[in-house]
């Protein structure tokens, strides 16, 4: 029971929405499509759903070609970013509608609807109409409708993006739990790296219609194949610094010179991109070989429990992610430390050539 995309492309009016995608989704898996707006996430989901027909390539389900099969005959569910419910039906009827169409006996429908509704905590709302509900409740209704039938493929198209962040946190957790028991393929599209991390499972990075990387979430996170993947799967985006490695030292932007330590010794001399996650930049040195840089504070942004400090000097701009609340005045001088063993290194083609030793291998 797997869904396979084979060389799938979709082009409309000369614009490529999906380019030559090859992916396989296994039953019981939770798959996240991560990419920016217009990366092709929605297009790909529409292809999987059968709402659009690919201009090239095939879709295989259980090894069988289902490329041209219409939506109605595929057993799928989809949840949209907008809260899409039948406005003329009550919540109950909304949830019941796929079952009614499947000609299920009334008692069975009733049982299932109530079960699903209680799972999503909307049981008291069953008699209301969708437009009388809050956004979160509407989206739960939509989810209930998607979950009430035993779809083999459940597609989520940024379902939480229009909700309060706290609500989003809660629903995200619920979702993850819900799918642990199901034997269906879940595909979840999001623009937020954190959401992908929180949801776990498999992550596929998309950019401008192409698949950049795909694999278990931590594998992708720990070993992004190129700078693009690294940028995409990091929030705030990974800091990138131009640097040169010689036999003896590593120079950043011909400005900051550091002795070549063992960590980077394997690199052949040449120009590289060095990437470091904001969370790995510290204000106090953790190791002796941390790279020290003098910067100025451009802006410090504080989330509830963290501070994102934007620092810059005449050569670099970086973002650091610090635990706790740190308030700095703009323009204040600050020294930041880059642990050399947490540097990602990419070659001139922006391909990953070195994974930091301390966090490699996905050892959990």
């Amino acid at each position: 029971m797997s869904l396979t995309l084979e060389n799938v492309s979709n082009t409309v009016d000369g614009v490529d929405y999906v380019r030559d995608a090859n992916l396989t989704f296994e039953a019981g898996s939770f798959n996240v499509l991560l990419g920016r707006t217009l990366a092709g996430k929605t297009s790909m989901m529409r292809l999987m759903a059968g709402l659009d027909k690919p201009t090239k390539g095939r879709l295989l389900y259980k090894g069988e070609d289902v490329t041209g099969k219409n939506v109605q005959s595929r057993n799928i569910s989809m949840i949209y970013q907008q809260f899409i419910n039948y406005p003329t039906l009550t919540v109950y009827e909304n949830i019941a509608s796929p079952l009614r169409l499947a000609k299920m006996p009334a008692s069975e429908i009733d049982r299932r609807v109530k079960e699903t509704a209680s799972m999503l905590q909307i049981e008291p709302l069953l008699k209301r109409y969708p437009l009388e509900l809050s956004g979160g409740q509407q989206q739960r209704t939509a989810m209930a409708r998607a979950l009430v039938k035993d779809a083999t493929l459940v597609l989520f198209d940024e379902p939480l993006v229009n909700l309060d962040y706290k609500l989003r946190e809660e629903l995200r957790a619920e979702l993850r739990d819900l799918f642990q028991e199901r034997q269906c393929i879940a595909v979840y599209a999001t623009t937020e790296a954190n959401e992908a991390l929180a949801l776990g499972g498999t992550t596929t990075l998309l950019h401008e219609g192409s698949v950049i990387q795909s694999g278990p979430v931590m594998d992708v996170y720990r070993a992004p194949v190129n700078t693009l993947a690294a940028q995409l799967f990091s929030e705030p985006p990974m800091n990138m610094i131009r640097g040169r490695v010689t036999d003896t030292e590593v120079t950043f932007d011909e400005y900051s010179h550091h002795a070549l330590t063992q960590e980077l010794a394997a690199l052949s001399p040449g120009d590289y991109w060095f990437g470091i996650r904001p969370s790995h930049i510290a204000l106090v040195p953790a190791n002796d070989d941390d790279l020290e840089m003098s910067m100025e504070v451009a802006l410090s942004e504080i989330s509830g429990s963290e501070t994102f400090m934007h620092v810059e000097n005449s050569h670099f701009e970086m973002v650091t992610q610090l635990m706790g609340v740190h308030q700095y005045r703009t323009g204040a001088p600050v020294k930041v430390y880059l642990p050399i063993n947490k540097l990602f290194v990419f070659d001139n083609d922006e391909r990953l050539v070195h994974t930091p030793s301390r966090i490699s291998g996905g050892a959990v």
Binding site: P237, I302, G324, V325
Partner: protein
Amino acid sequence: MAEIQLKSLAHSYSDSPTGPDDYAIRQLDHVWHKGGAYALLGPSGCGKSTMLNIISGLIQPSEGEVLFDGKRVNELSPRDRNIAQVFQFPVIYDSMTVYENLAFPLKNNKVPADRIKTRVQEIAEVLEIEDKLHKKAKNLTADEKQKVSMGRGLVREDVSAILFDEPLTVIDPQLKWKLRRKLKQIHEQFDITMVYVTHDQLEASTFADKIAVMYGGQVVQFGTPTELFEAPNHTFVGYFIGSPGMNLVEVERCAGGVCFDSTVVPLEPWQADLLERMTSTNVKIGIRPEFIEVSAISSDDTYESEVLDVEDLGTYKIVTVRLANQEMKVRQNEEFEADLGSQIHLSFPKQWLMLYVDEFLIQEQQR
């Protein structure tokens, strides 16, 4: 620029409110000082937009007074209050160019033409839309539109205040970073009273010097981001600020402190002291996941708990543990490792352990 004071403000959308539930805002007193950058934070439906609209004059409050620099303005229209407001969804005049949009409020205020020109240019530069000035506004992308929308608020120099109503909702996450930063810079540059309504703690804390957290039609805490994080005044603040929110455990009084199930948590003497003077049985302790310390070995002040789940979020991990019958979240860095079901030992540093009676924080100075 003005100081904005709200005096025993209340508002209900129904004509004849029967109970407190009918009120979107209940009995609220608050002052926004001149030149401050403030955020109004709360979940949807807490009354924050209502409050904003009352300040701007789009809504007449049912009760109470709105004072600008001490002068009652209840009866004044938004026009006369001289206030700028940016809405959640971009409101742009789509028949005009970006330039005309930005110049619109100035023209309405009869600002001289050359001044308009320089001012619009200035704001466009700040918002990085100077290359789009002569485009038709309706052909912009959503975030560009919102920038224009903001620009119209920012372009006026003489405003009493600029109000933002969740202005970044429609903006792509990647761009939110930039815009937030922009706003902060603008505030620092122009020093205008700004009130920023949001449900996103990140936006609020980043933008504001002080945040008012609203809950159920009331301001439950007004403080700096640090205060909100480190000493949430109300259990709701604890829950709402921080991701994940504060661990809150219902406890009972017992010898040496408070206890839940059979676990005793000792209190600071002043806390115990204060608790004793109160009668309420609604007592909770709260501690943020970030402040719980974990060690592999047991000691006197540690509590043994079972690891239920470890969630790897890349830069850090969230560990869900069970202590007695309570589930708690603990935040650990990315190097943390533990097997599910294994036992770990938690400790609650005294200075981070908060005590709540009737949902409000017991603070030392109350003594």
